[in-house]
């Protein structure tokens, strides 16, 4: 029999899924003119689920015979996913109305996807990893195409779906190799089989490589990034913002846990591959972003570069001390990146007219003078992306670079520093348009996007004064991870 403890440990996910089903039903009785009720309801569900996750903070344990584990790592990430979901609801509130796409399915699918991410962060069995990856992806395929029959949105959904299905198949193939090698899909069983010397090393290595490719697609690192620019550009902007933050974080959650727990012995070989992926992502993302004049595409390439930065700290993961530090700095950077990315997307959504494929950089001209608050939010987000002091982005990069230096990855750190300098060019160009070019940008009706932008900017600024407690909280949270 399942014990109360089993359900208690996955309470946030259970609450969220039940809430999503209720919204699906209740939405039938909400008239088309009052769809904002659905948004408010789903926000309430996210808040309740986040409350459960907060209540479980610090508790550890495994449920359903080791299918999922609850530890600080999964708790912190769950809260990050839920807050991202809250931001995605707030950004969609006026944006969907403007685009005449106010449908209840948006919220149900969003909640399903978040539940998938939370399960992914706590998955302790390769079957759960695969299923939660699908549970987070399938709703996102639909949400990317939510503006159907608009062509850009259909293209976004189709590209995401085809490459996503392809990467899922690769991931599943990798799981099959690992099962063949060890005879287990649950993490403790796999670890026991490896430690006992019963596992076939070559099969395990191939499986690990295939898993890395599968996760690489989800986090959008070079060379698995092909879908990223078109999907982020064509998707509804609120979903683009959500994907840059939450999908990436979920992919990293699974990648970090699977590699730390299952493949510490393969670290010498994997480190080389991770090194290449990280360096290529930083160089490619930052150089191609220079040529982008469309804000959505620019943010998409910037997200590829940022995935490279997070991967950088994880390269020397074979050393247990460095691995702890790498996971805490990855968590810290994910928080900083979430605030920064949502801030930038929110400013864009506040200005983005209906039926648009994303603003051009010129469309930000005059923003600083006409709307000082939005201009300031944009400025802070861009400075944080570059990693200028007095922003969370600075501390995020500081901890990542420090971890990489501790792991004696000096060439990689140099690449990271140089590409950050390159990135300053295109991030500052947006600021230049917003502050030094004359123009008359027009803010769209509805204030929720602006509210999100200002909250994120305030978070970036205020938290930058207390980086050490935040980092130590992250470090303390992952202590029990295994």
């Amino acid at each position: 029999m399942p014990t109360v403890n089993d359900f208690l440990l996955i309470l946030p996910e259970v609450v969220l899924l039940i809430w999503a089903l209720l919204i699906l039903l209740i939405d039938l009785w909400i008239p088309d003119t009052k769809k904002y009720y659905t948004a408010v309801l789903s926000a309430a569900g996210l808040v309740i689920s986040a409350g459960c996750a907060f209540a479980l903070l610090g508790r550890t344990g495994s449920a359903f015979s080791n299918m999922v584990v609850l530890d600080g790592f999964s708790s912190v990430l769950s809260i990050l996913f839920l807050l991202s979901g809250l931001a995605a609801v707030a950004l969609a509130y006026d944006y969907l109305k403007r685009n005449a796409a106010q449908r209840g399915e948006y919220y149900t699918l969003l909640l399903f996807s978040i539940a998938g991410m939370m399960l992914m962060a706590s998955a302790n069995d390769l079957i759960m990893v695969f299923l939660s990856l699908e549970l987070l992806s399938i709703p996102l395929y639909i949400l990317a195409g939510f503006f159907r029959p608009r062509l850009a949105s259909e293209e976004a959904a189709l590209k995401y779906f085809l490459l996503g299905a392809f990467s899922s198949a690769i991931l599943l193939f990798g799981i099959a190799w690992i099962y063949g090698s060890t005879g287990h899909t649950d993490f403790p069983g796999i670890v026991a089989s490896i430690d006992g010397g019963r596992a076939n090393y070559l099969l395990l290595l191939i499986g690990a490589g295939l898993l890395l490719v599968g996760f690489g697609f989800k986090i959008g690192v070079f060379p698995f990034h092909m879908w990223v620019p078109d999907t982020y550009q064509g998707s509804p902007s609120s979903i683009g913002a959500f994907m840059t933050v939450a999908t990436k974080a979920a992919g990293f959650a699974a990648l970090l846990r699977v590699f730390l727990v299952l493949f510490p012995a393969e670290a010498p070989i994997m480190a080389g591959i991770l090194w290449g992926l990280s360096a290529a992502s930083m160089i490619f993302g930052n150089t191609v972003a220079i040529a982008q004049m469309n804000m959505k595409r620019l943010l998409a390439y910037s997200s590829i570069a940022n995935a490279g930065y997070i991967l950088m700290a994880f390269v020397p993961y074979g050393n247990p001390v460095i691995a702890q530090e790498a996971v805490s700095s990855a968590l810290f950077y994910l928080l900083a990146y979430a605030l920064t990315s949502f801030g930038a997307w929110a400013v864009m959504i506040a200005l983005e007219p209906a039926e648009s494929d994303g603003l051009l950089l010129q469309d930000f001209s005059g923003l600083g003078r006409k709307y000082p608050w939005l201009g300031a939010a944009l400025l802070i987000s861009m400075l944080s992306f570059i990693g200028v002091p007095l922003t969370m982005g600075f501390w995020g990069k500081f901890y990542l670079f420090k971890t990489a230096v501790d792991g004696s990855q000096i060439p990689l750190v140099l690449i990271g520093l140089l590409t950050s300098l390159v990135s300053a060019y295109y991030y500052l160009r947006i600021v230049m348009f917003a502050y030094f070019k004359p123009g008359e940008p027009q803010i769209q009706p509805g204030r929720w996007a602006s509210v999100v932008a200002v909250i994120c900017a305030a978070g970036i600024f205020v938290l930058s004064f207390i980086p050490t407690p935040v980092f130590q909280f992250a470090a303390q949270m992952i202590m029990g991870m295994k």
Binding site: L17, M67, F112, I142, R148
Partner: protein
């Protein structure tokens, strides 16, 4: 060579031939019918392995539902599937070479694995495998949680399918 081995070889050859026909026949309808043949072959292999349940579900799900669905799709989209075009990609030789290389290296790698030479053990006839499967899917100590996640996943796919397929021009 035992009778079971002869049956297996015959069925395997038939399955492979049917699979080649699926991709090489010119008419979509004939390809769909060849697909059914290949699926029947797989069902027979399941039966030979002593897995009656999989054999039956292969017939019911794949042949009974999916193949029929494919035939319907072929019939409804006949005009867009003209058989005039060439069956081969220009670079099919390279693709064939790459696939052969991948296949042989997979076989080579797997041949270094002990499981490659393992002889299948006969299942205990007194154990009802379907009962074991059903119990493990609903057992909280087994796969109850993944099973529930799959149901949510299918629901999400269903909602998405309906949303995408709906006539968006009307409303």
């Amino acid at each position: 060579m035992t009778a079971v081995q002869i049956v297996f070889l015959a069925v395997a050859a038939l399955t492979l031939a049917a699979a080649v026909m699926v991709v090489s026949l010119r008419r979509m309808m004939q390809s769909a019918l060849a697909l059914i043949l290949a699926l029947v072959g797989v069902a027979v292999i399941f039966a030979l392995l002593g897995s009656g349940f999989f054999a039956v579900s292969q017939v019911v799900v794949y042949i009974g539902a999916i193949a029929i669905l494919i035939i319907f799709a072929v019939m409804l989209t006949q005009n867009s599937m003209s058989p005039e075009h060439s069956q081969m990609n220009p670079g099919f030789l390279y693709a064939a070479l790459g696939s052969a290389l991948l296949f042989s290296s997979l076989v080579f790698i797997l041949s270094m694995w002990v499981g490659f030479y393992a002889i299948p053990v006969n299942l205990d006839p007194s154990v009802d495998t379907i009962t074991v499967l059903g119990l493990s899917l609903t057992d909280p100590q087994g796969f109850a949680l993944p099973f529930e996640i799959v149901s949510v996943l299918l629901l999400a796919a269903l909602i998405g399918g309906i949303y995408i397929a709906r006539d968006h021009h009307r409303d």
